[in-house]
Structures are given as C-alpha cells and as structure tokens.
Amino acid sequence: MERLIDPVIADLQHEYEEAIRRGDVWRSRSIRVAGYIAFWKVAGLAALSADRRLSRALAFALSTGTIITALLVWVTLAAVPPRIDYSGRTTWLVLYLIPQALTISVPVCLALGVFCRLRGRNPTGAARRTVLALAIGCSLASFANLGWITPAANNAFRVFLVGRPEVRGANELTIGELRRRVHLALPGEIPEALPPAFWYHARLALVAAPPVLCLFAFATATIRRGRSGLMVLATLTFFVGCYAFFTPSQVAELARWLPVSAIAWIPNTVVGLATIAIAFTRPRATEATAG
C-alpha cells in the first residue's frame, strides 16, 4: 500500500497546492475530485490484485448476477401476451425490467460472492464486519429500489407496452401507497389475483433478503468443504425460482391454506431455516483465516 496509495496522495497534494498557489480555484476543486476518484480506484485495484480469491469471487458473483438478471427479464418478457407486438421496442422494455430483476439478482450475487470469498475459512472480525456492512448497504439500496424505482419502471413498462393505463397495479405503487392501501384495507384499482398485503410483504421480504442470504452464505462458507457448493446452489436456485416461476394464480391457490403475508416470506423463511440447520449441525472449517 505504501508504494501504491502514498504516491497517489503525495501527487494529489502537490498538484492541489500548485493550483492554490496560482489562485486557480476551479482547477484545485477539479484536482481534488479527480484525486478522490483516483484514490478509490487505486485502492480497489490494489485490493483486487493483492487478493486473487476476492477478484475471482467478484468475477463469479458478477457474472452469475448478470445471468440471473437476464433470466428474470426474459421470464417477464416471455409472459407478455402474444397479441401485443413489442418488436422494435425490446431495448426499452428490457431497461424498464432491470430494476425489478436487480431486487432478486443483487442479494443472490452478494451471497455467492461471500460464499466464494470465505469458503472453507474461518473469517476474521474484519471479514464479518465487511459482510454485515455489505448486507445492510444492499438492503438499503433494495429498499430504495423496491419503494420507488421499480414501481416507476414497472409503470413505464406498462405505459410503453399498452399505452397510458388509467389505473395502476400493485407493482406500480410506491411503498407508501401500497402500505396505505394495506392498512386502510382498500381494494386494488384493478382486479388482481392477490391482495395488496401480499405485494407489500413480498417487497419487505426482498428488502430483508440481502442479510438473510448473506447469513446463509456465511454459515455455509464456514463449514468444511464437501457439498457446501451444492447446498448454496440448491438454496439460491430455490430462492430465484420462487420469484421467477411462481405465478400469482399459483400463489392464490396456496393462499387457501396460508395467510398471504406468510406466503410472501416463504423464500426468506426457508433460507433462514437452512442457515440455522447448517450453523447448529455441521463441523466448522479450521484450515485458514480469511481477512
């Protein structure tokens, strides 16, 4: 670090001081911004080149995340009725569907990254804190996405596909609007197979998904190698499958036996139970320490 970070800071300080000496305020400000960007870039590149395991984990998680995002976008586009012709407009439709897909692919991507980085190791305190910070950060980003960005993108998707709708579905309401509808027991503006309570709880469950999946990945990574990779693959496939392949009518069938709010939390509950089972039943890895 002394040979990578210190030169960045030293050069930045000298360039900044020179600009100040010349009285060039705007130049000094631009140097400061460019310097901060350069600093973080160097720090990131240095961390990646020093930790090959981290770079491999990042590459694997990002490529898997991209595939899952593409799969989720494709599933939604494939569900568009054949009578609606969207040829020539596919790029925009795909862009509108990406925020919704990210709410599922980002937690999965994060869990895979954590698992690959920590697999078969005893994580240090710093590693635990980093994972926790990443999970909370992702959860907050997910809340903003599910609360405002995804509803707007979903609405734009429907407007672009079938023209301006007079009413909005549950997936096009902001989290506040949806919450009001649930608490005042208002019916949806359009007839839907599921009540607003399901969609509200499904969003909350997705906000909670990053910490839940991270904990699962953490618990699985710290047990001895063997079938841990298979367990992660099966659990994450189940998690993605719940959101990608269950239709509202299938969920409505399930609602005969379970409250809709409980159904929305099934993916998280299953992953949480798997985490508890792993944490309390499997021997821990002792081969190395991961920082």
Partner: protein
C-alpha cells in the same frame, strides 16, 4: 519450464511508461499521466508502476522535499538497466515485425 515462459512481457501501457521514463530519465506519477497525452489514467498509472517495480523494470525513491514543505513526499520513478534492455528488445521486435503486420 520452457525458456519461452521466462521471457519478460511488456504490455502496451508498461511499454509507454518505460518509453516516457527512458526519455526523461525520472518522473513522478502525474507527470507520466500528463506526458502520455491521455493514454495513461491517474487511477491506473500507480498500479501499473507498482507492477513494473515488482518486475524490476523501474525503481523508485522518495523525492527530497524542501524542509518547509508539508504533506507526503512524491515518489519518483526511473527505469532500471533491465527495464531499458526489455524496452529496447521489444522495440527491436516491434520494428522487425511491423512490416509483417502492415501487409
């Protein structure tokens, strides 16, 4: 291991840095960025220089800052004799092969 695996490699960015250093004899990171006319970025030049130092192409020292100067001293880079030889060998190979590629 075959002798081919032991031949030092010189990616384009490292070749550019060695070329600039060979002309000016010693420079610091941002001087290299400015002299490269946009071909080097301030976010990547330090990582490349670090890698080149590990390979033995360049060496570095901290500048002798005036006593009243605040902040960290800058790190000055210069090409090593090995770095100069690698650059010259690669330039020779490039000159020999460029007519083949230009055809």
């Amino acid at each position: 291991m075959s002798p081919l695996h032991r031949i030092p490699t010189l990616p384009p960015k490292e070749a550019l840095i060695l070329d600039l250093l060979a002309r000016e004899s010693e420079m610091y990171g941002l001087q290299l960025v400015a002299a490269s006319k946009g071909r080097l970025r301030r976010g990547t030049v330090y990582v490349t220089l670090g890698r080149m130092e590990e390979k033995g192409y360049v060496s570095s020292r901290l500048e002798d800052a005036p006593p009243d100067a605040g902040g960290l001293p800058r790190r000055i880079y210069e090409p090593t004799a090995f770095g100069r030889r690698v650059l010259s060998a690669w330039a020779h190979v490039a000159r020999r092969l460029s007519p083949e590629f230009a055809r």
